[in-house]
Symmetry: C2
Subunit: 754 residues, 2 copies
Amino acid sequence: MVGPKLQAFIPLFYLVWSDDLLTLKEFQTLATFIKNQDWLSQEEKEYLLSNIDRSNPPSRAIIDKWKEEIRNAILKNPSIASSYDVAKMLSENEAQIIDLKPYFLKIENDLGYLSEEVISTFKTTADTFTSKNNTLSQFDVPKLTAILDGNQVGVINKVKAVISRPEFAYEYGLDIATYRNRVYDWCKILAKENFGNKAYPKEYGGGNDIEAYFAIIETLSYHDLSLVIKFGVQFGLWGMSVYSLGTKKHYEKYLKDIGDLTLPGCFAMTETHHGSNVKGLETTATYNHKDQTFSIHTPHPKAQKEYIGNAAVHGQMATVFAKLIIDNHDYGVNAFIVPLRDSDGNVVKGVTIGDCGYKMGLNGVDNGTIRFDQVVIPKENMLDRFASVNDNGVFESPIPSDNRRFFTMLGTLVGGRIGIPRSALSAAKSGITIAIKYADKRRQFGPDGGSEVPILNYRIHQRRLFPHLATIYATHFGLQYLTRLFLEKTEEQIQEIEALAAGLKAYSTWSTTATLQECREACGGKGYLSENRIDNLKNDTEIYTTFEGDNTVLMQLVAKNRLSEFRKEFGKMNSLGMINYVFENAKTALTEKNPIVTRTTDATHLLDFEFHLQAFQYREKTILASAAKRIKRLIDEGLEPYDAFNVVQHHMIEVAQAYLERILLEQFQENISKVQDQAVQAVLKQLAQLFALSVIEKNKAWYLEEGYMESVKTKAIRKMVNQLCWEIRPNAVGLVDAFAIPDSCLAAPIVFNS
Amino acid sequence: MVGPKLQAFIPLFYLVWSDDLLTLKEFQTLATFIKNQDWLSQEEKEYLLSNIDRSNPPSRAIIDKWKEEIRNAILKNPSIASSYDVAKMLSENEAQIIDLKPYFLKIENDLGYLSEEVISTFKTTADTFTSKNNTLSQFDVPKLTAILDGNQVGVINKVKAVISRPEFAYEYGLDIATYRNRVYDWCKILAKENFGNKAYPKEYGGGNDIEAYFAIIETLSYHDLSLVIKFGVQFGLWGMSVYSLGTKKHYEKYLKDIGDLTLPGCFAMTETHHGSNVKGLETTATYNHKDQTFSIHTPHPKAQKEYIGNAAVHGQMATVFAKLIIDNHDYGVNAFIVPLRDSDGNVVKGVTIGDCGYKMGLNGVDNGTIRFDQVVIPKENMLDRFASVNDNGVFESPIPSDNRRFFTMLGTLVGGRIGIPRSALSAAKSGITIAIKYADKRRQFGPDGGSEVPILNYRIHQRRLFPHLATIYATHFGLQYLTRLFLEKTEEQIQEIEALAAGLKAYSTWSTTATLQECREACGGKGYLSENRIDNLKNDTEIYTTFEGDNTVLMQLVAKNRLSEFRKEFGKMNSLGMINYVFENAKTALTEKNPIVTRTTDATHLLDFEFHLQAFQYREKTILASAAKRIKRLIDEGLEPYDAFNVVQHHMIEVAQAYLERILLEQFQENISKVQDQAVQAVLKQLAQLFALSVIEKNKAWYLEEGYMESVKTKAIRKMVNQLCWEIRPNAVGLVDAFAIPDSCLAAPIVFNS
């Protein structure tokens, strides 16, 4: 019936009827095209038009016939690249068709698709390389685990064994009272194992091993985080405050009972109206000369202690921070041991306890409020390591400045700012493990004619997860470094260590929040079910960015510390000219070395550790100098320093970030250089490169503004980040297996039976 | 006792003893300095050194005396700017001191602080401008509310009145069973008010007003979001699937009962193994010729329906999506009404229902799994608007292509992608209202000598919240626009509207997640307490980025739609040369107009609406063209299109984002131009400027890479963003009050009694 030349239109017919996007307009476009072909007879045109009559669509049979003919044409000639080529074949190289090539190509375009896409639907593309990039660990996982655990492997494995016991199995949807008691019971088990008192002196039943204590916190954090926080409140905050701020008489009286959890207690610092600004807290401890006692008092409701862990139900005593008043003179904030409940749990007279109730997470921890109405305690209950009241009722202290004494006291509590980020990191490890292992199994979509592909093979999915994985590894080594510094600290280093701890606490908890948010979304609906744990991991760690110091406030402190370091380094910083000088120096010093570098884009250079570290150092130095410069200028312009610092707050955060990221990269690279095993070193190297380049990419606008890189380079870096993700893909599962999180802790069904 | 010249050292003494940061090193520095002053006698040196002997600190009395002397000096001469000036005064202009000026300045620096900071602690700086920038609404709030509510004010206020009734009061920590029934009862109340059937035809008891239905969803979203989703499942997904995919016989049989909630039902599309790739779902509906029935069957466990709202407890029927099989031929996915429970709630034979259990949020919604074991339903249960089986058991459809029919069916359900983003937006409005009103009251830190300052006065806090506030306003107008388009849609627009709905669903839900995350952190500990609602707002909306289409998948669809629009626009896109041509055109077209613009930084220009829109359009066009270019090149290089699209996935997301942001800005600006009231227009203008500039700032690396802006300009934009935040501050509370969220819905105690 229809001659070969008409066959040429079959691809177009098939297209308009099969394509799921075409609308009226496309049908009209095609109709017009046909009408305009004056080499066609009227009846030929009518025949063709009858095939695209929307009021009278062809039967499935006919469409299937078209499809067959197209497929056969393609199978006969695999070199076919456009539907015009098909048209040509079907029309047996009809001369007019060949002349019409441009028109056929145009109509294909007007119909809004790329020929290749249509043709490809006929080729079986099951063997796309996207389908092939699957899990294939290229290194020995246990070797990497050994590197991560280091010298703490013993205690780590001991803790893992304990929390893997059946009595530690998770249970969801417990009512809050049951949950709180469950967590309390878990803590008792841990106390029996002597995990709680690990950091206390041997003479008080402890293990005298603070390093192990941190490893315990970190490992426990693979389990329920309410347990970790309850544990940290009792043995860390309550116990260590007695140990750090008190003296022998307090150790002898309390430390053993705290360590075996026969004396549950609290750390009562924060007040409703004073969280970050602790110096401003208003609870008073007034000295009574007549009977050598203190009266602990809450002057008004907003001065009540708030969010106090262990307070709502279990706490029997508390380290209470209050302003010491003697003869109406305020001697600043000091710490006192105040009883809350008797051993039967009855609240003592003068104390009023409230319950913080339901929280976003950590509902296994009994946070509460505490109010004191002239509660009288004996003189010896003052934690008197840094200040005391002598028998004549006279204040005594080796540190005359209230300010300085206060910060010295806080300084002794810096341990909390090492435990929290290490706990946060474990939570991030759990989350990324769940997300990556699920994405490795979960298949969705795939090439035409091929089976569905693991979603971890999709570039966007890799980009969502792998930079976080790299950051987790970088942070791991950074926190190891911080811990070592803390253990070996000299008086000279104290400030720097405090700043670094504050900074890494903020950095690590923020990236944990970001990581878990991404993991939740990356796991789709499954990531929303509590059984898969992203829920609790995210909601429990959510408050980590706030407690132990609000992250934003901490970052400001870190930046101020960097500024004063900076000033010490280059004297005479009071003169703006001099700052400018130093500033320009910092800039040129590194760039002038190699002017071409701003344009270099070859892989060797982009993957070079030295290039990475230099870029980080350059950013750290320059951004710090420019902050100093801005502040100085603002003050010279007559601004109050308070206003000046407010104006540059955003800048200050970047100062702190650049400093922290430089430390993380430095430590990551240094640890890699020490790795013996080639394969392990190779995969860690890729992670370090991904970490470095994604941080640079995040800050690329800044590098461009500074002229440190040109756009050709930042674009090359973006491509390299994609490439690294692609190359890390086969090792991704191995890299999370290396965390060696116990299955019973991971627990998420999507990890084990997807 | 001590001569005036020694007085000069008092500022230094005071410093070392009062500063809370100095360590051993600083004491040594000062000691060395003193020892090196050969103009001092030996005993003078010894006296001075005795004042910085750490083993024998001065008494508080002495420190206080020093402090007094310094204060007096400063009061006598307010022009004093450095502690050297103080030294000079105290030494009564001792000649040697004046000669020593550089040494004094140096030692101050070596001690690591800026003189100004020390001096300022002696001046009362209570009147910093940071302290003064407080709430002061400069516009008439109700007028703005009227603009936001528009023609829907009637139904909006009606809904607000209902959800403000006592029976709608929140209760936290309900067990899941109670919570689910509470939400169900709430839905019954709303049904009685004829909110549920608002969109259905009048003849079936409806209000025939889809616009009002969307306004209802949006307003309900100020309340518990489990309520909104349960409501949406019943009246939107279940009811509208019957209405959109069924025919008269189904309307008559079901629509009224669905609308008054006597027939609770489900929308059973998603399967465990097929969420995003719905076309791949495996449930079958096999036609039985003998008795003209269908057998609905779940071939294997992973093909069970999952996350189905209303399934676990209340649903009696479901619209089930299944592959239609006739005589072993697969006719693609179609929809069928299948009974799940009888009216007494007993599950029907062949149906197995599971409970999804605890979720991160929305625990008031009974999501469940459904399995079918050869469940037989009558032929008329097929929703046959787009396809049917005739009495001879032959498949019939006006749309022969299975693909196309499927997407046409889905297209009729696009309403869900308008309701969800509008619901998400309301949640964001609640969160930002809580965070801003709290930050306006919460005071922490302050200038020396001044009282504490509202944290909303801190630049960093403004930067955390205000860009989100601006985005919320932009999204509000964007979703209004989408709704109008949807209501007035012509067949030609369908695809674009579907793409826009998909895109705005993703954009709006992602920014809601980001906004609420920021709000949680910005509210500190209070933001973690469930009573303040950020908890539920965040966790309930968390899944919005996944359901109704995973955001990442949706953004890919939007980008693909943009690409085909692009191809239609400029024919012959199959030739790379042509794409390049268009690409270069898109670039130059806008830049060549004004070459200097890349460096312009004056405020008038930076705040100019036209500049903003041009920058957005430029980004949209260029990034789209470059994506087309990359894909084309990759395919020419021999990549399978499937691989090519995988390589550019990340780029595709940006294509979609640029498109959506351009639409939002366009709509925001257009709506502002229509505002009559000057004051309201002024404040909205600032918000639109903040929205535009923070988006540009977010993408500034790209603008720099493209050479569309130079660094001098991007830096100026960063400053301008800070400035706009600062200027919006006094109106911030007014801007959230304009949302007019009922107090009973807002509920957060920190909003009302901080």
